[in-house]
């Protein structure tokens, strides 16, 4: 079996050097170069065969997201593993969507990095275990710890929010609850005040984030 040809893309030379050290000292892996932005990556893959790219997300000129999307269209055989400083699940999702096969945090262990490379080259996905943790935490923290503006709201107000989020007008809500439209407006006003929102668009987003409504 041939060695796996790996390109490292990151705008910090230290990262490239570190990964080169890990790659070069491992059997079956071959470090074939670094790139400091997406455009460099593309010019390199045009001039030589590449099997796998360890791709930073934040880069100048052309970032990892854009570059990965381009590669997955034009070079579907090249596998991409996203690299990131931050364990941001949303970012991870976007990278996966754009065609990345894996997601690693920069402070990941050597063992993790090597596992990721081998898994991804076998066509499987690999995600940093740390990311997985925050994935769940993100959901838990909101519902359990820390104070939420949700506590400021009364039952009736929550109810009004839910109806607003069902695309109902003030008149419809008033009708449904058998109260006057003035009352509904009064509630809506108080809600806006308490949550410091500008309009109902913000209200919907707040409601979803705080799990007052289901999407």
């Amino acid at each position: 079996m041939d060695k796996i040809k790996i390109l490292v893309a990151d705008d910090h030379q230290v990262i490239i050097d570190g990964l080169e050290a890990i790659i070069s000292t491992t059997e079956h892996l071959e470090f074939i170069g670094g790139a400091s932005n997406g455009k460099e990556v593309i010019s390199k893959v045009e001039s030589q065969p590449v099997d796998l790219i360890l791709m930073d997300i934040n880069m100048p000129e052309m970032d990892g997201l854009e570059c990965t999307a381009y590669l997955s269209k034009n070079y579907p055989n090249i596998r991409v593993i996203a690299l990131s400083m931050h364990d941001n699940p949303r970012l991870a999702k976007r990278m996966i969507k754009n065609g990345a096969f894996g997601f690693l945090l920069k402070n990941s262990s050597k063992a993790n990095i090597l596992t990721a490379i081998s898994e991804v080259m076998q066509g499987r996905n690999f995600f940093d275990p740390m990311l997985m943790s925050t994935f769940f935490d993100a959901d838990n923290k909101k519902s359990s710890s820390s104070f939420s503006k949700k506590d400021l709201l009364t039952k009736r107000e929550i109810q009004i929010i839910q109806l607003i989020c069902q695309e109902k007008t003030t008149a419809e809500i008033a009708d449904e609850l058998s109260i006057s439209t003035h009352t509904v407006e009064s509630h809506r006003g108080n809600i806006m005040l308490k949550l410091e929102l500008k309009n109902s668009v913000g209200l919907v987003k707040w409601a979803i984030q705080n799990e007052v409504i289901e999407l």
Copy 2:
């Protein structure tokens, strides 16, 4: 360091035997028994010290969810790793919420199981890499498969949607794009028509569901 005392809970004896084999042949790990439902688990932890439980979710009498919730309240020092046949992210979330520290699929490799145990005993979370894959897939399929009304929209319309979702008013949007407010209204009108929406509340929800905006 003492051996880690592990209890295995599953209503299938094969699973218990299999895990016992893995545990017993590994240093620092000690298999201290099996249980076929949640009630048995509780009676066992009452009679002897336990460090970690590999807990099946589907069990008769008292299932893994309930049992884990009970343990995390009354025996917070006992670590629980959930076991499941199915890579169901929702189930995983619920187990984590109930106090589990990890989530393993039953067809997971020995290496994975051992890693999970060691990670969890160090107070970290561990999630089966396979689960992570389906986590992302679940989201991707929804947006990619079948025809979406998103295709009906033009770039400009998408742009307008994004600005509306930033809680901007028509005037602000017009200003930002250097076009007249009439044009913006015109776009908004077309969007509403194409997506068959009633108002901007529906628009925000649609935008989130179709990943036109990030929450």
